[in-house]
């Protein structure tokens, strides 16, 4: 197992290298630069700034310089926030994005899992149609629509929760629900499908024949098999929730990484965008690895070598 993990980790390096290189050159192909602004800078002032950030050097040398710095774990200075390094900003933003992501994931699993199991057990019942219709709705409503609606109802209408911001658990609820709903809907459909597949199998009949209570049959025997598709989905979903909270972070004014990513791209803050891409890539690779390992434990048919 350890050997497998080490081999996978070593495999990350060439992948990361390709990602960094591609992103570096693609970012530079975008028209405009970090210091283009409505109020044009005098040529000399622009030259002074570019010299300061080595942007006056040939592109290949900037590229090599950047690779060297990244290899040492230094993602460079932010052009937009000159007092801070990209490492510092990601370090500040990540715990926030992680907190939001985990809560959203919990919402997704709790809502989606429950709905999926119920729907799967009562196939073609009113309950099934109802939960699956709601799930379809959940997938279809984009979070930039759901977020403002929740704000209107729970913050402006009922005054139960704050509109936006960050700091207390009350600030966390609306964004976590907004972000989690989409994934809850997915999880519900996957759990239902998994449940339907497992529930008709011989070992379930055997379990029932042994006289086990229905709850034990469902939770102990059926569920581990039924959630396999969910687990597969969970790897990319966790990464997507963590990296894809961009819109929710903006709407709810949350100090996570997503806002730096979008702001960085719009401002051509090269180092900020590259830094976020590197960070997200590592996260994505890492989650896929975890899923593969989990698989080995949950599904006896899969063996890790």
């Amino acid at each position: 197992m350890l050997g497998y993990i080490l081999r996978r980790l070593a495999g990350f390096l060439p992948v990361l290298f390709v990602i960094v290189s591609l992103s570096f050159f693609m970012m530079r192909l975008a028209p405009g630069g970090p210091f283009d602004q409505e109020r044009a800078l005098p040529d000399q002032v622009r030259a002074n700034i570019e010299a300061r950030y080595h942007l006056d050097e040939p592109l290949w040398r900037q590229y090599l310089r950047y690779l060297g710095e990244v290899a040492q774990g230094d993602l460079g200075p932010s052009f937009r926030y000159p007092d801070r390094s990209v490492n510092e900003l990601l370090g500040l933003g990540f715990p926030v994005s992680l907190t939001l992501g985990l809560c959203a994931l919990a919402v997704a699993l709790a809502l989606g899992g429950t709905a999926g199991i119920l729907a799967g057990l009562r196939r073609n019942s009113v309950l099934d149609y109802l939960t699956m219709s709601v799930a379809l709705g959940g997938v279809s409503v984009p979070n930039f629509v759901l977020g403002p609606i929740l704000m209107l109802v729970f913050a402006l209408g009922l005054h139960w929760l704050p509109v936006a911001g960050w700091g207390t658990w009350r600030h966390l609820i609306l964004p976590a629900v907004t972000l989690g709903t989409f994934y809850a809907a997915y999880v519900a459909r996957l759990t239902r499908a998994g449940m339907l597949e497992v529930i008709g199998q011989d070992f379930i009949r055997t379990a029932r024949a042994k006289g086990l209570r229905e709850a034990v049959v469902v939770l102990r025997h059926a569920l581990p098999g039924a959630i396999l598709p969910v687990i597969t989905y969970l790897g990319p979903a966790s990464a997507a929730i963590l990296t894809g909270s961009v819109v929710v972070e903006t709407i709810f004014s949350i100090p996570g990484i997503g806002r730096y990513f979008v702001g960085g791209a719009l401002n051509r803050d090269y180092t900020m965008v590259l830094g976020t891409v590197v960070f997200y890539s590592v996260l994505l690779l890492f989650f896929n690895l975890i899923v593969d390992i989990l698989y080995a434990y949950l599904d006896p048919r899969v063996q890790v070598r």
Partner: protein, 523 residues
């Protein structure tokens, strides 16, 4: 068991606070700054949101009057100006930094050298090009800073020598680029000097905390010379970027001031007593590329400008109370009378277009109008597109691009028509007119006019008499907006926002600047 006593103390404190729940809260002012400040280093920043914070953290030689923005004494208690208007001698007051050190003339010299030093790469270095040899030092043509026109005669006397007599120099000295800087803090902490616990400031407020993208908190500074005037205890700057969210936060009582209103909510906002709208020192206009046909023909440019009904545009499209304008310098500039621009005259527009060879728009090539992604720009360009079609029979295509693409296409003259906006730096027509000189970095139309260049140069340096100077600027604007028309102004921007009714001491003004030391909150 060491925690017991503090616990008891907290309990008592809690009881006291509970007894007077509003007393503490009432002196906390929460405002939405709409974006995370890029930096708190006065030599580095260039934006309006940064100004809202820094103008309360630091103080320059002068400050601004909250009503008419005219210069008031700040770190300088008094000053004298030489007869030729070139030499300013500032007498500093007995003021202190937050760490107790006195504010001296050397702190200004250090700050200004730092901004002009080419190695700093300061974006706003041109704010100090007014100094004698300032530009040369920034461009590396001279390396000896003692030749630049700023000297500390002693700890409390600062002598500034200008390149030309500059009527608005005392307005510039209240601007953040010219603030004094604590050398010892920068030498001790490097670029980290702006962080809480390290930053040393000299304004009416000090930095209490700063969590990027979350909040920035200022507290009243007891060291400030004018502390007796300051009524707010604490100010919280929120960085909500989404204007819809910011608006909802205001409605929910989470902020006391939000300086923007979402365009779609204007009608609803107008009916609320907290809504305010005031003219802004900024002009919304279109640029023509005068280097390419058909907009290289002045008759075409004038025809396009004359065919736009600015009254309807502001009344039915922008709707927030914008002021229709066919001139570039906004009205209400101290001492400036203004000129007459090209109004709305369809008959004259058609005649000019026919003279240019396109009677009733026949044979007119398709034009492209460039704008950056923004709700306001979309509706304005669509409305103007329709007016041109109705009044001149010509078809203009709208080209929507992202901000940085827009900027680079505009500066590379890769457009035919483009929408633009300009916000003045200081209250003088020059900030709107000197940008159009030949080859100016913000000209971006390819337009060049010798007479215009001469007038601007004379107004900048040769004319000492204030009235004559304004007359020269007026003549220049006449060329710009009525004779040659490389641009077509559309309207004067407005500040629109929401202000809680418990806020007092808040004066509307054309820069939407509201020094916090004059603001108080009603119980």
């Amino acid at each position: 068991m060491r925690g017991r006593k503090p616990l008891a103390a907290f309990a008592i404190l809690g009881l006291i606070l509970a007894a007077s729940p509003s007393a503490a809260q009432e002196r906390v002012f929460r405002l939405n700054n709409m974006v995370e400040p890029e930096s708190l280093d006065p030599g580095v920043v260039t934006g309006v949101p940064e100004h809202r914070i820094l103008s309360n953290l630091f103080e320059g030689l002068t400050t601004t009057d909250p009503k008419d923005l005219s210069p008031r004494p700040g770190m300088a208690a008094s000053w004298s100006v030489s007869k030729d208007g070139l030499v300013y001698t500032f007498k500093l007051r007995n003021a202190r930094w937050t760490d107790g050190k006195p504010v001296t003339a050397h702190d200004f010299v250090y700050a200004w050298e730092r901004v002009l030093n080419p190695k700093s790469g300061a974006k706003y270095a041109q704010q100090l090009y007014y100094l004698k040899n300032g530009e040369d030092y920034n461009k590396g043509r001279i390396t000896d800073f003692s030749q630049v026109g700023v000297k500390a005669l002693d700890d409390r006397t600062l002598q500034v020598t200008l390149r030309c007599s500059t009527a608005y120099f005392l307005d510039l000295t209240s601007f953040y680029t010219l603030y004094p800087i604590p050398r010892w803090a920068i030498e001790a902490h490097g670029k980290d000097w702006v962080k809480p616990g390290k930053i040393v400031t000299n304004g009416p407020f000090r930095l209490a905390s700063w969590v990027p993208q979350k909040e920035l908190i200022l507290e009243k500074s007891l060291q400030h010379w004018d502390a007796a005037r300051v009524k707010l205890q604490k100010v919280i700057f929120m960085p909500t970027e989404d204007v819809n969210t910011a608006y909802k936060q205001f409605l929910a009582g989470e902020s006391d001031w939000v300086p923007q209103v979402p365009p779609a909510q204007i009608d609803a906002a107008r009916s609320r007593p907290e809504f305010y709208v005031t003219p802004y020192l900024g002009t919304y206009y279109f640029r023509f590329n005068v280097t390419k046909p058909p907009t290289n023909d002045v008759r075409v440019r004038k025809a396009l400008s004359l065919a736009v009904d600015r009254e309807s545009l502001t009344k039915f499209v922008t709707k927030a109370g914008e002021i229709p304008a066919s001139t570039f310098v906004p009205a209400g500039m101290r001492g400036y009378e203004g000129v007459r621009g090209l109004g709305f005259d369809v008959a004259a527009a058609r005649k000019l277009l026919a003279e240019a060879g396109y009677p009733e728009g026949k044979g007119f090539p398709r034009l492209e109008l460039l704008y950056n992604t923004n709700e306001l720009h979309r509706v304005v360009t669509q409305a103007v597109q329709q007016m041109w079609k109705d009044h001149l029979g010509i078809q203009v295509d709208l080209v929507n691009v992202e901000w940085k693409v827009y900027l680079s296409r505009q500066s590379g003259l890769d457009f035919q028509l483009s929408r633009a906006g300009w916000i003045g730096d200081y209250v003088d027509p020059n900030t709107f007119l000197d940008m159009w000189v030949t080859g100016g970095g913000n000209n971006q139309t390819g337009w060049s006019n010798k007479r215009y260049d001469d007038l601007i140069a004379r107004a900048a340096c040769k004319i000492v008499n204030a009235k004559d100077r304004m007359r020269a600027l007026q003549e220049a604007e006449q060329i710009l907006v009525a004779e040659e028309a490389p641009i077509m102004p559309l309207f004067t921007y407005v500040n629109k926002g929401m202000l809680s009714r418990r806020v007092k001491g808040w004066s509307p003004n054309i820069l939407d600047q509201h020094p916090l030391k004059y603001i108080s909150l009603e119980r």
